[in-house]
């Protein structure tokens, strides 16, 4: 990082002042902007560059990953039907979950009124895949094909048992509102790699053309007590991809350009008068806004993608806002240096009618997830891109509501569930951690969500204990006062 002595800063301000004094009215904005911010032109044409912003002391050590794509399954997908194979459960059909297994686990009030907790074995077939023979359910044929690239962690756990606190917890390290989200921490610590795009982008996926499912909250991509500039920016599939991006009707790009030049002149002459450096910054921010007006539409226009690539992601990729389209967009964002991209897809909260609903959900996500990993790999980007998949907690082995061989529901389960990671810094082709026969308790290698977050930061070259922000007299961090890097899953 380059620091500037304030006196030299002041001298520079003076120089600028003279410069503008002489050329008032005639200054080209590009020159102006480069004066304000020489690095603006240090990068590539698409705005990518090594680094902009962030803390001087970061990364703490050489990072394996430069960026993260986090595929968030909101509502909590069932580990039992996708990843955590429990063949013995077939003998337990409709038998009660032993108290020794439940062992005092708090039960949500949605099932605490049930007289019984009958075991519901998964109705789906599992097979072994990849060189290491990972068990994957028939729901995920495409992902199964990529399993050698993934580290599947079966023992993720949390304390929270309801959606709002749980998703707030995994995203911010606290069950209560008020803390910065993971992406905001990274924007704050590591800055951006693209001058023209936000460091932290959020994508919301439609399911069957609509939204619905468990609620999401602005705090999940909020900046908490960090500067609001670090909050995630939603890239939308309807209307302006970035809020307020398009010029109003009747204002052409050319007219906007002229207006901004004129605005810069006016602001500059005010600066000459009052000397407030904030005015200079304002001029630069307008320039950046202008650049976003072109770089963002370029980003979302997928006409330059090959048919082969599109095919890989599946039919839906051509419909903006679908999970497939968002996965492709996530790759494009990664290419452009966006530090943290979070793709949300909802409707995993399957308290009833789980087999049908999970089939639909997996049908939506399976191919695009696999395609994203494959696509990144083909482009040599998987090496330094970390992909994370999963939800806020798991689901119970016991049935909620009516149980038949082919239909059942599952309640929330915090003690163990499955997530996978792939790419930068992660050991490929492993299954980590073991759970009991009921996928109820961890028997080996628990990974708390704080551990998971610590590991994610580690891949990015960040010591989770040292990325802190002093607020209200205390040093806060994403992992609160917890978290251990899970060394065993690192490459």
């Amino acid at each position: 990082m380059n620091t500037q002595h304030p006196l030299r800063e002041a001298a520079l301000v003076e120089t600028r002042r003279h410069f503008f004094g002489r050329t008032a009215g005639g200054i080209g904005t590009a020159a102006l902007a480069s004066l304000v911010n020489p690095q603006l032109f240090a990068g590539n044409r698409d705005g990518t560059m090594d680094r902009v912003g962030g803390l001087e002391e970061l990364p703490h050590f050489a990072p394996k990953a430069k960026r993260v794509i986090y595929l968030f399954m909101s509502g909590a997908p069932s580990q039992l039907d996708m990843w955590d194979y429990k063949p013995k459960m077939n003998d337990w059909f409709d038998k009660d979950l032993p108290d020794s297994i439940r062992n005092g686990q708090r039960i949500t009030t949605m099932t605490s009124g049930q007289k019984r907790f009958p075991i519901a074995p998964s109705t789906f077939k599992f097979d072994q895949h990849g060189q290491h023979g990972a068990w994957v359910s028939e729901l995920l044929p495409h992902t199964a094909g990529m399993v050698d690239d993934l580290a599947v962690v079966k023992t993720v756990n949390t304390e929270a048992i309801n959606h709002d606190p749980a998703i707030t917890y995994i995203q911010t390290g606290s069950q209560l509102p008020g803390r910065p989200s993971t992406g905001a921490w990274l924007s704050y610590g590591l800055g951006s790699m693209n001058e023209n795009l936000p460091a932290f982008v959020v994508l919301h996926s439609t399911v069957n053309g609509g939204f619905g499912g468990q609620a999401l909250y602005a705090r999940l991509w909020g900046a908490g007590f960090l500067s609001t500039r670090h909050q995630g920016v939603s890239l939308r599939s309807n209307g302006d991809p970035v809020l307020y991006l398009s010029n109003p009707q009747g204002i052409s790009g050319k007219m906007r350009r002229r207006m901004l030049d004129e605005l810069a002149q006016m602001n500059q002459s005010r600066y000459d008068e009052v000397g407030d450096p904030e005015i200079q910054s304002r001029i630069a921010q307008y320039e950046m806004a202008y650049r976003m007006q072109t770089s963002v539409p370029e980003l979302t226009d997928i006409s330059d993608e090959s048919e082969k690539t599109l095919e890989m992601y599946g039919e839906e990729v051509k419909k903006p806002g679908t999970f497939a389209a968002n996965c492709l967009l996530a790759r494009r964002l990664a290419e452009r240096g966006v530090r943290f991209t979070q793709v949300f897809i909802r409707q995993w909260d399957q308290h009833g009618n789980l087999p049908n609903d999970i089939r639909r959900q997996c049908g939506i996500i399976d191919q695009p997830c696999a395609a994203l990993v494959k696509d990144l790999k083909q482009r040599g980007m998987l090496e330094d891109t970390l992909v994370v998949w999963g939800g806020e907690f798991g689901r119970t082995i016991y049935c909620q509501g009516g149980l038949t061989k082919t239909n059942y529901g599952r309640d929330h389960h915090p003690r163990c569930y499955t997530k996978w990671m792939a790419g930068g810094g992660i050991r490929p082709g492993i299954v980590y951690g073991e759970t009991d026969d009921f996928s109820y308790n961890v028997t080996e290698n628990p990974v708390h969500i704080h551990d998971l977050n610590a590991t994610m930061l580690h891949c990015l070259g960040v010591d989770h204990e040292r990325l802190t922000f002093k607020h209200q007299g205390r040093n806060f961090r994403l992992t609160d006062v917890h978290g251990n890097v899970v060394k065993d899953i690192l490459a």
Partner: protein, 1042 residues
């Protein structure tokens, strides 16, 4: 410089702040070489040592405590005394912090904490100088400081300037002269009202040469209604006010009457002690009035949940913790939250003391689950003055009408014509409710377009009359109606029926009848359990049998009582529901006893006998009770009740006679009900009769209850005032005790921050040991004591600040000032910073003439980009779909914008408005490209530019030059310089030329927003001026208070 602008500011500010710290350091060094414990030593100990040697008992190592004098100077476990006053070289503290052996070095390397050489030197020097110990400044009540003598001939206006000038002089700076009048008026108008001055106000001020001109303006502004709104808006950040619950469903909540109470309180200049006491404990005051109850909404503003599966106990704890944190941030400037889990690491607040505070907020009558309701109790009705008058008028009218009816009833002469007759035989029979057309008033609804299809002809079976209704559909589908004005009365033992004909080629899986008596929870089905309310098998969805035979008319019959429709129920709606298939429906009705004829009804005796037999419900309770008494045993009152009812409601002749009066009574009653329904309510606090026992909770976990605690305030912050009750009221009075070291300081500091951008204590939320020390401690104390002495007069305190020469300085900054005092902490120049989000929008609405300036009322939904709520909202939430308001509601001040916590209005949050999920007393102030995009493209601002242009054209004079001056003055207050004017003329000509060539662009550009455009103005000209207005609205100066 080579860092980018993303990082440029924060980094530079940090860097410059560091330089600033050094500057102050060197100043004090010049002044004296003396180390001050509070200023120099305590921050080091607290930041680097207290983790293990501080107040937190659980974390304390080797029983050495460095936060208490007695402990710090006594023997540790090792037998050594860490500090040897007067001799640093013999003090183990110094040897340990300089130790070469990493195992012995303090702080331990693995803690990640280190001490700089300079800090070690300070500690050394402090011990050598005798290790004098003092308490943390903020925990000692302020003492009246001496006002410094004026510095040479620097102009002062009040004592504030004396304190400020002292600092400015020590730094070798000089204050800026008073800002020019235009700048000053804009600054003070924005600061006191959140809106810019009008040109008229500016001209008045410029024309007023008297020495009191400025003071007159200040007094005018302080009395303006806009003042209260503006001050309230800032307070609402602290109160975490919003219009939704915040967690999970994030449904709407009604508490805006509290918001309006805050506005009114500021406009009435309510003293801060009353303001505090009413908000924290208004309900506990003797005979509290409505306002005092509404005020307690302050601590009902916290986020709440009703997520299925949540545990009540956990949320009672969370809500109480939030209330302690908020109360302590706002009044104590302390970060109490840390002590929820363990003794505070830095401040003396113990975990026990935290739960003693917690106990004050732990015994409310609220439920843990908000029920996703608009008004989770306790809540209170808050009528406006107008509504109160209307209520009174209606009640008076009703009293009059009832007296009149009473009188006429008493005078009415009735003789039973057939007192001797016996009741004719009563028989139960079918009564079809409707056939071929819907009953009067029914609103037809259902799936698909034209959901009701009455059909006849060859291919359609019909059971009775001319037609049957038919439906074909996939899945769950239905047609139904509600709103029948002549309801279907249900009597004892009645049954409901309808006829169905199932298509043999396309049978449904389910047929279902649903009945509405105000609720739809009365259902019966045949076949599969796939209708509405599936899975319940109770009165709200009762299985009647298997699917009826196909290809023939089958009667479906349901005993009304079995689906929860008891005698007296009145049906206004009926639904025909099926799962798939094709179904014909016909002749719905009721099996009941035939009603009496008009002739029979003319006899009260027959009517009474009929009622005895039929037991028709639905009679007023009093009448029913009287009828239940054997006829010979009835007393006078009972006889009268029966007779009154009979005459008013039953007898064909008398009912005619009373109809008009009764209708009037009914109409007034309806009006009163409507009025009562329209009166808003607001959430309030209320104490449980039986207090809930609070416990210390280990790690803050609701399940880990430890020792029970009762309500108490931390003693080290001063005693409870005598005779104050030990409840929230006592807590509030304790805060407002004039001896309290924190309340007044914390409050005046927040106001200082309001005017100067940064408080005298920069960390306005943290006055604890880890917070920043005040830049001007004596001034802070002086202001605090003055505030208390004035009787907590908020308006006076603020006037004092804005009257000071310090506030009135020009805000121009020289490179010298920038280098010595980049953040303007010394105040050698006037304040200058970006306006808050709300002011930026309000200003645009105001100068464009769009603003609809009424005070208070329900929150509104102005423009926001489409599709923001849907992608995040829970399907069942009543705030998952954003429905934009129209008309005046688009143009209210921003403080009235509906605040959905999980998706707040983006044009506000982009400019750093907090999310309102937690208490916030200090906003960030960033400068980002997204802000530029809002001002460039948000329809609100484009529309405002057009309306502003219309004003310019109508009121700005004839020439371009006059108009430009008018426009410029409207938005930034001052006149443009010659150079600026020249530029603007060029731009304006350019816009005119461009729009002159492009009619489409003109039409499009002028179409932004809902407000109609002034058609009398030339469109192309208006577009050009709108563009100029747009340019002006984007000026850095426009969104900056200078």
């Amino acid at each position: 410089m080579s860092s980018s602008s993303f990082r440029r500011f924060p980094v530079n500010l940090l860097l410059l702040a560091a330089i600033f710290a050094v500057t102050v350091e060197s100043l004090s060094a010049e002044e004296s070489n003396r180390i001050e414990f509070g200023r120099d030593i305590l921050p080091i100990l607290s930041d680097r040592c207290f983790q293990c040697h501080g107040p937190d008992e659980a974390q304390r190592e080797s029983n050495l405590r460095l936060d208490l004098k007695e402990e710090a100077f006594s023997e540790a476990d090792s037998g050594e005394v860490a500090i040897q006053p007067g001799d640093a070289s013999k003090s183990p503290l110094i040897s340990r912090i300089t130790h070469e052996d990493p195992d012995l070095l303090m702080p331990p390397p693995e803690s990640g904490l280190t001490l700089s050489e300079e800090e070690i030197q300070k500690l050394r020097k402090w011990i050598d100088q005798g290790a004098k110990w003092e308490q943390h400044w903020a925990f000692v009540p302020p003492k009246n400081p001496k006002v410094p003598r004026p510095v040479s001939d620097w102009a002062t206006r009040n004592p504030i300037d004396h304190f400020i000038h002292e600092g400015v002089q020590s730094a070798g700076l000089t204050p800026q002269p008073e800002a020019d009048k235009e700048t000053l008026l804009r600054r003070v108008t924005l600061d006191l009202t959140g809106l810019p001055p009008t040109i008229e106000e500016m001209d008045d001020f410029l024309a007023d040469d008297t020495p009191e001109a400025y003071e007159k303006v200040v007094d005018r502004l302080l009395k303006s209604d806009r003042y209260g709104e503006h001050m309230a808006r800032v307070w609402l950040d602290a109160a975490r006010y919003a219009d939704t619950h915040g967690l999970h469903l994030d449904n709407e909540r009604q508490i805006w009457p509290y918001r309006d109470w805050v506005i009114k309180s500021f406009n009435r200049n309510m003293p801060f002690d009353e303001f505090t006491i009413e908000q924290l404990a208004g309900d506990l005051l003797p005979a509290p009035n409505l306002g005092q109850k509404v005020a307690t909404g302050f601590n009902r503003c916290n986020v709440t949940t009703s997520e299925g599966g949540s545990i009540d106990e956990e949320y009672y704890v969370r809500y109480a913790v939030d209330r302690v944190e908020t109360t302590s941030t706002v009044w104590l400037g302390l970060t109490a939250g840390c002590a929820a889990c363990h003794d505070h690491k830095f401040d003396p607040l113990t975990q026990k003391e935290f739960y003693q505070l917690f106990s004050y907020f732990f015994s409310l009558t609220e439920k843990a689950m908000d029920g996703n309701a608009l008004l989770p109790p306790p809540a209170i009705k808050v009528p406006t003055d107008e509504q109160r008058v209307q209520q009174q008028n209606l009640n008076e009218e009703l009293t009059r009408l009832r007296a009149e009816i009473r009188k006429r009833l008493d005078e009415y002469v009735y003789q039973d014509p057939r007192s001797d007759v016996e009741l004719p035989t009563l028989q139960r029979s079918d009564r079809i409710w409707f056939d071929d057309e819907l009953p009067a008033g029914a609103v037809p609804q259902g799936n698909g377009e034209n959901p009701w299809k009455f059909v006849s002809g060859e291919e359609h079976p019909v059971f009775s009359g001319e037609t049957a209704s038919v439906r074909t559909g996939e899945g769950l589908t239905q047609h139904f109606f509600t709103g029948a004005t002549e309801p279907l009365m249900i009597g004892d033992n009645d049954s409901l029926f309808a006829y169905v004909y199932l298509d043999p080629d396309n049978p449904p899986e389910t047929v279902q009848l649903q009945f509405n008596d105000g609720s739809w929870e009365h259902r019966a089905y045949w076949g599969a359990d796939k209708g509405h309310g599936a899975g319940r098998n109770n009165a709200s969805n009762l299985k009647m049998g298997e699917l009826p035979a196909t290809g023939e008319w089958v009667r479906l019959e349901v005993p009304a009582a079995s689906v929860g429709l008891n005698s007296g129920a009145k049906l206004n709606g009926w639904a025909f529901t099926q799962f798939g298939g094709t179904v014909h429906w016909d002749s719905p009705g009721i099996v009941t006893i035939a009603p009496l004829s008009a002739e029979q009804l003319a006899s009260q005796n027959i009517w009474e006998l009929y009622l005895k037999e039929v037991k028709q419900g639905g009679l007023p309770g009093e009448v029913q009770k009287a009828l239940d008494v054997a006829s010979g045993d009835r007393n006078e009152g009972q006889l009268k009740a029966i007779r009154d009812h009979y005459l008013k409601q039953v007898n064909p002749e008398s009912t005619q006679y009373f109809a008009e009066s009764l209708k009037q009574e009914q109409d007034r009653t309806n009006e009163l009900n409507t009025l009562n329904g329209a009166i808003p309510s607001s959430l309030i606090m209320e104490e449980r009769a039986e207090p809930r026992q609070a416990h210390i909770l280990e790690r803050g976990e609701y399940t880990l209850k430890r020792d029970p605690v009762s309500s108490a305030t931390p003693e080290w912050l001063g005693p409870q005032p005598e005779e104050s009750p030990n409840n929230r009221l006592g807590l509030a009075k304790w805060l407002m005790n004039p001896e309290h070291p924190l309340t007044a300081r914390v409050t005046v500091n927040r106001y200082w921050q309001h005017y100067f951008g940064t408080g005298l204590v920069k960390t306005s939320e943290d006055f604890g040991i880890q917070g920043e020390r005040p830049s001007h401690p004596e001034l802070l104390d002086w202001l605090a004591l003055d505030f208390i002495d004035s009787g907590w007069d908020v308006r006076r305190m603020q006037k004092q600040i804005v009257m000071s020469a310090t506030y009135r300085q020009a805000s121009r900054v020289t490179p010298e000032q920038l280098s010595i005092d980049p953040e303007n902490r010394l105040l050698s120049r006037g304040p200058r910073f970006r306006l808050d989000a709300e002011i930026i929008r309000d200003q645009a609405l105001y100068v464009s003439g769009l603003m609809h300036g009424v005070l208070g009322g329900p929150s509104v939904k102005p423009y926001q980009p489409a599709g923001l709520w849907k992608p995040v909202g829970f399907g069942g939430s009543n705030t998952s779909v954003f429905k934009q308001d129209s008309g005046e509601k688009l143009y209210r001040r921003s403080m009235y914008t509906f605040w959905k916590r999980t998706s707040p209005p983006p044009s506000m949050t982009t400019f750093d408005a907090p999310d309102r999920e937690t208490c916030q007393v200090r906003r960030a102030r960033t400068n980002t490209p997204l802000q530029a995009l809002v001002l460039m493209n948000d329809v609100q601002f484009i529309e405002a530019a057009r309306k502003f242009a219309e004003r310019i054209l109508r009121n700005g004079g004839e020439s371009d030059e006059q108009r430009l001056v008018y426009a410029f003055r409207s938005i930034v207050g001052r006149r443009p310089s010659t150079e600026e004017l020249e530029k603007l003329l060029v731009f304006q000509a350019d816009y005119r030329q461009q729009f002159g060539q492009d009619e489409t662009a003109v039409t499009q550009f002028l179409s932004a927003g809902e407000s109609p455009r002034d058609e009398s103005l030339d469109a192309s000209d208006l577009a050009a001026w709108s563009m100029l207005a747009h340019l002006l609205m984007n000026l850095s100066e426009t969104i900056t208070k200078g």
